[in-house]
Symmetry: C2
Subunit: 141 residues, 2 copies
Amino acid sequence: MPTSSRFAVAVHILTFLAADRKRAHRSEEIAASVGTNPSVVRRILGDLSRAGLTSSQLGKGGGALLARGPKKISLLDVFCAVEEQSLIAMHRTPPSQSCEIGRVIQPVLQSMAATAEQAFFGTLEGHSLKDVARSVKTAAA
Amino acid sequence: MPTSSRFAVAVHILTFLAADRKRAHRSEEIAASVGTNPSVVRRILGDLSRAGLTSSQLGKGGGALLARGPKKISLLDVFCAVEEQSLIAMHRTPPSQSCEIGRVIQPVLQSMAATAEQAFFGTLEGHSLKDVARSVKTAAA
DNA sequence: TGCGTATGTAACGAACCTAGTTACATATAT
DNA sequence: ATATATGTAACTAGGTTCGTTACATACGCA
């Protein structure tokens, strides 16, 4: 249902950066690994740097770097940086206010949705970029 | 992020049916409460009946009915009936197979995504249509 | 200072999805 | 028979995503 793949691409980018923190990586280099256009990578790197997860350097030898250790970057940080916060959408057009159910269904639903979303986000928070990098290393071996 | 409001509408429909189980309710009647077109309601009722949550009757006095008690319908049942199962999408185009990270990132991500999704679904499973109906009644009072 | 390099961002299009609308065949009650 | 209600197809408008191109801006280095 999620029509966006930004989270997957963002984690890919960050995992790429985490694999070699000794130097900056150009968007072109990252894009080759992700399998997309450098501009798409830069667009997502923009979100990530606005969220304080990466930094970028211009000019020769420039590119993107992790702004902090992979152990200190949770998948929730990544998700919040690049995706909408809410997993469950309400009615597009407001329900009837002259119906008792229509009048109150949205707040009721939203509070239940919030508990489910919290469970989702809590789990994401429990996984760090370091965990991903480790799993990737193991799987690649 | 969810571009679909089907879950919200489906819960609304089912709550409407749960509020008066003594008779069948026409799509037109439900649509007035939801604030949409009867055909939209029938489309979603199609999903719900395929999932065994509702049944329908044709002809005069016809309409939709809950197929079982609201205590026996979980929000997970509803979600699965009308929405995609996966909350996290992978790359649209496959990542580079010549890159070690690109080769394994998807399964790694998917397994972590699965734990978060399970937390989400588990919470939805813990709420029944009866809970929603009760909250609506309380909120309406 | 000037050149090459890399980012950040805007703009545009193709593809896709959602939901609103209309239409109609089919089944049912009376 | 007739009126009624569903189920579903077809079409449209609107929104979102992502790939692409383009370019202004900033930085390193000779």
